[in-house]
């Protein structure tokens, strides 16, 4: 059971919620206190009570603003998650499209996908229950059909596709080819 949120947006929402509730409990306490003081204080001493009252109301206003902020944080998180889901789906579609273009056989598709997931040849052989030699032959066929000379170049094909797809808010350098993992 995941009680605590996982993403940064979720964590931020949670801490904001805790903060709001602590302040709300305090505000209720102060406001109640002000009411009781108001009644118990002689008319000439009321200035002090008024100040307390105004401060309490300011706290309430702050809480309302934080509630609105919390709503925004939650909406942003939701949008971001939707974006990630969409991107994941698109990535899958893109990979499938490349595989189609290269006319990979079903076995080669499986192997290629496992290569993209970073599993080495022995691991793939173990997963698929085949000999390491078979996997070597299959990966070689995949690299040949894709026109690359190995695992790293195969990956960079997809990386390039990701970088080329510039979103409107960062249309900065798109030509970031080459080995860019510092």
């Amino acid at each position: 059971m995941t009680v605590l949120p996982t993403g940064p947006g979720g964590r931020r929402a949670l801490s904001l919620a805790v903060l709001i509730l602590l302040q709300a409990a305090c505000a209720a306490f102060f406001l109640g206190d002000v009411l009781i003081d108001f009644e118990a204080t002689a008319a000439n001493d009321l200035a002090h009570v008024w100040v307390e009252g105004v401060v309490s109301l300011a706290l309430v206003a702050a809480i309302v603003l934080q509630l609105i902020e919390l709503r925004h944080v939650m909406q942003r998180t939701e949008r971001a998650e939707q974006g990630i889901r969409a991107a994941r789906g698109e990535m899958q579609a893109l990979i499938g499209q490349f595989f189609d273009d290269w006319a990979l056989t079903p076995a080669e598709r499986d192997v290629a996908l496992l290569v993209l997931k970073g599993i080495d040849n022995e691991g793939i052989a173990a997963l698929r229950g085949t000999a390491a030699g078979t996997v070597r032959a299959q990966t070689a066929a995949v690299y040949g059909k894709a026109g690359v000379d190995g695992r790293a170049q195969l990956l960079s094909l997809f990386m390039e596709e990701l970088f080329a797809d510039d979103s409107p808010d960062d249309r900065a350098p798109t030509a970031r080819t080459g080995s860019g993992n510092g």
Binding site: V3, A13, V18, L35, E39, I63, I68, Q75
Partner: protein
């Protein structure tokens, strides 16, 4: 009524069950904090003591935030999603007995009535409690009686609330307590969702 065969393929687990986010962190925190404060005030805290008052104020603040959240919060938390509707609640009760289970992502119509009832009762408790601390109402009989009556009604309501949760969990197959902890309702495959 639903088209799904109850024991579809005997896959043991819950193949098509969906985990749908329903209760945001604020709603969950408020729920369990109020439950804790009520539990403390009803059992261990001295009714005459300061901690009893502080817990009462905390409940007031929590309920106030929840009511504000009912106006500006996300869908499932909004009043508009579960308006108080006695006719719908009665219909829900009839369907219940007839055995048709619809999963409501927010409160079901009967549960909604209980929620409003709990909020009103808690507010009545807080108001009468604060009144007992003022000079004007201190020691006045009817205020104390109202506070105690509200408390008794709250206990009855809590019992009904817990009973409703148990029955609804059994009927719809959605573990409701888990939903109020994790925020997600696990809706069984083929259930009608509203």
């Amino acid at each position: 009524m639903t088209a799904s065969a109850p024991g579809a393929p005997g896959e043991g687990g819950r193949p098509g069950a969906r985990d749908i986010p329903v209760w945001d962190p604020l709603v969950r925190l408020i729920h369990w904090s109020v439950a804790l404060a009520v539990l403390l005030n009803a059992t261990v805290l001295d009714p005459e003591g300061r901690p009893h008052e502080v817990a009462g104020y905390a409940v007031a603040g929590l309920v106030a935030v929840r009511l504000a959240w009912g106006l500006i919060g996300p869908g499932p938390a909004r009043f508009a999603t579960f308006p108080p509707n006695p006719a719908a609640a009665l219909r829900h009760l009839r369907h219940w007995r007839a055995g048709a289970g619809t999963v409501h992502l927010s409160h079901n119509p009967l549960g909604a009535l209980m929620v409003y009832n709990l909020w009103l009762t808690l507010l009545a408790l807080v108001v009468t409690g604060v009144m007992m601390g003022t000079i004007r109402f201190f020691g006045i009989q009817w205020v104390e009686e109202a506070h105690e009556m509200a408390f008794d009604w709250l206990m009855i309501s809590v019992a009904l609330h817990v009973g409703g949760v148990v029955i609804d969990t059994l009927r719809t197959g959605v573990p409701l307590v888990r939903a109020m902890v994790t925020g997600r309702k696990r809706v069984p495959a083929g259930a009608r969702v509203r």
